[in-house]
Subunit: 105 residues, 2 copies
DNA sequence: GGCCACGGTAACCGCAACGTAACCGGGGTG
DNA sequence: CACCCCGGTTACGTTGCGGTTACCGTGGCC
């Protein structure tokens, strides 16, 4: 596709924010395979594109909350369609890949 | 997203095959910004994943036709949902990006 | 003999994405 | 004083996607 919306982890971030705002460290729990750096980069990009908002609270220890915007939410139908495709057809794809590997061998 | 289906040009290839089989050189016309190498790689990957078939005809000059499979066709609803999102919301995204750049400046 | 069409491959390269590890500041806590 | 929490940043290294250019084999045509 000619346009890429977000990076590798953007979809997962938006999904994590689906049910309400989350703090940086709360996002890291379900996404434990993402380093702080990459998560921060992803959040910056999503903020830049108007998909999430970043709210800083002057407390101690510091608190930062990320929330999804209506624009971010508008992506869910498309994301759900992709997920549904994967649920329905990923097995076929992997089978085709395996058959192809066997023919090659 | 954790899974990537195809590469940068896969969606465009499938769209080009929507209305029937096409030869390699026929695909290059609407996709003139894609080099032969990258198009070939894309087609190999789609073939490996069972999204297109490759039919070689023993003629001269050689003829090779690529056709979309039912599995490839099954991707269209999800792709259409993404396209619809872009049609409806890409302007918002770009506006948000511009507003962000101005705040930064 | 030279050139063309077709459908590629091979060699090389740059850059962005991704990842790891170390560090930071400021206030609270023992 | 030392150490922890939170939310990052900086420096650095690696991988791989996508791109460019050059080249290939077969057979037909002039």
């Amino acid at each position: 596709m000619p346009f890429r919306i977000g990076d590798k982890w953007a979809g997962m971030v938006l999904t994590c924010l689906r049910d309400g705002p989350r703090r940086f460290s709360e996002l890291r729990v379900p996404m434990h395979r993402v380093s702080a750096k990459v998560l921060a980069e992803t959040l910056r990009a999503l903020e830049r594109d108007g998909m999430v908002t970043r709210s800083e609270y002057d407390e101690v220890p510091p608190r930062v909350e990320y929330a999804i915007t209506p624009l971010g939410r508008s992506l869910f139908p498309a994301m759900d369609a992709c997920r549904r495709w994967a649920d329905d057809h990923l097995g076929e794809l992997l089978a085709a890949r395996e058959a192809y590997a066997e023919r090659g061998a």
